[in-house]
């Protein structure tokens, strides 16, 4: 049961769920949550490879720690951007954010 393929399939499923949420959700905060799901799917992939392909020099875990760091920075800046847009447009509907539409 504990095979590498199982973890890879699990992270692929999580990634696809995250992509679906990223594309279809209209609430801007939910889009950020979907991005967190995507990053976690990547982390799960890295940890699986680290445990099964490189168990002596756990480089996958090092990469996972870096991804977690970048995810924390991304969440802070993303939520600040959402707050700024909310003050500007008085809504968090993704369909209303058409400032770049021409």
């Amino acid at each position: 049961m504990m095979h590498l393929e199982f973890f890879l399939l699990l992270s692929a499923a999580l990634f696809c769920i995250g992509i679906y949420g990223l594309v279809t959700s209209r609430n801007a905060v939910r889009v950020l949550m979907s991005i967190e799901l995507l990053l976690n799917a990547v982390n799960l992939n890295l940890m699986g490879f680290s445990n099964y392909l490189d168990p002596t020099g756990i480089k996958g875990q090092v990469f996972t720690v870096f991804v977690i760091t970048v995810a924390a920075a991304e969440a802070a800046v993303g939520l600040a951007i959402i707050l700024a847009i909310y003050r500007n447009r008085q809504t968090i509907d993704m369909e209303q954010f058409n400032l770049l539409k021409w």
Binding site: L44, Y52, V62
Partner: protein
């Protein structure tokens, strides 16, 4: 299969099912607060899977950073933009949702085939050769990953300052009347906060 492997398999199946169900709830539920709490559930389940993958330090970091920081930050953002707004309906929105679901299922099928077809060159070494993953990670951080480690601290500083600059709100409506302030290229367009009278 001895007892330990059985316990591992059962734990892994339970954690995986909970993780997938919670992730579907994050995406599909209409109430955003439920989604935020289910996101915390997803993070905790992933942390359990990390423990099954012999990574205790990263599991602890996952709970500390994701559940303790990012999830709380998302909950604060939900509170700050708390507006019960009913999004106006878009005609033929189900076509978008259906095509997105189709593309996602197709992507999963593609990834699954790739995972199952590829002959992985598994390393037969037991992960127990590393006694303490924290020490091993520290050796990596301060030898061959030193530059990314230092860059990560700079990145965190940049993100903190950027988030503060983006999220503060008091802009000056009367810039011209405050002409005694010298404006340089480094002057921020925000007004310094009024000093409060103390005592007297």
């Amino acid at each position: 299969m001895n007892l330990a492997e059985g316990v591992q398999s059962v734990t892994l199946i339970i954690l995986s099912a909970m993780m997938i169900a919670a992730a579907l709830g994050v995406v599909l539920l209409s109430n955003i607060v439920y989604s935020a709490f289910l996101l915390g559930g997803v993070f905790i389940c992933i942390s359990g899977i990390y423990i099954l993958l012999n990574a205790d330090f990263v599991a602890a970091a996952q709970i500390l950073i994701y559940v303790g920081a990012i999830n709380v930050l998302i909950l604060f953002a939900i509170m700050l933009v708390n507006k019960q707004e009913d999004f106006q309906a878009i005609p033929r929105r189900w076509i978008r949702k259906g095509s997105a679901a189709l593309v996602c299922v197709g992507l999963f099928a593609l990834l699954g085939t790739m995972v199952l077809v590829t002959p992985w060159q598994l390393d037969a070494t037991s992960p127990a050769v590393i006694e303490n993953t924290m020490i091993a990670l520290g050796k990596h951080f301060f030898s061959d990953f030193l530059l990314p480690f230092e860059l990560a601290s700079v990145l965190l500083l940049i993100a903190m300052i950027g988030a503060i600059v983006l999220a503060r709100r008091d802009f000056i409506p009367d810039l011209s009347s405050r002409s005694e302030l010298t404006t340089t290229a480094l002057t921020l367009p925000e007004r310094p906060r009024e000093l409060t009278k103390s005592g007297k």
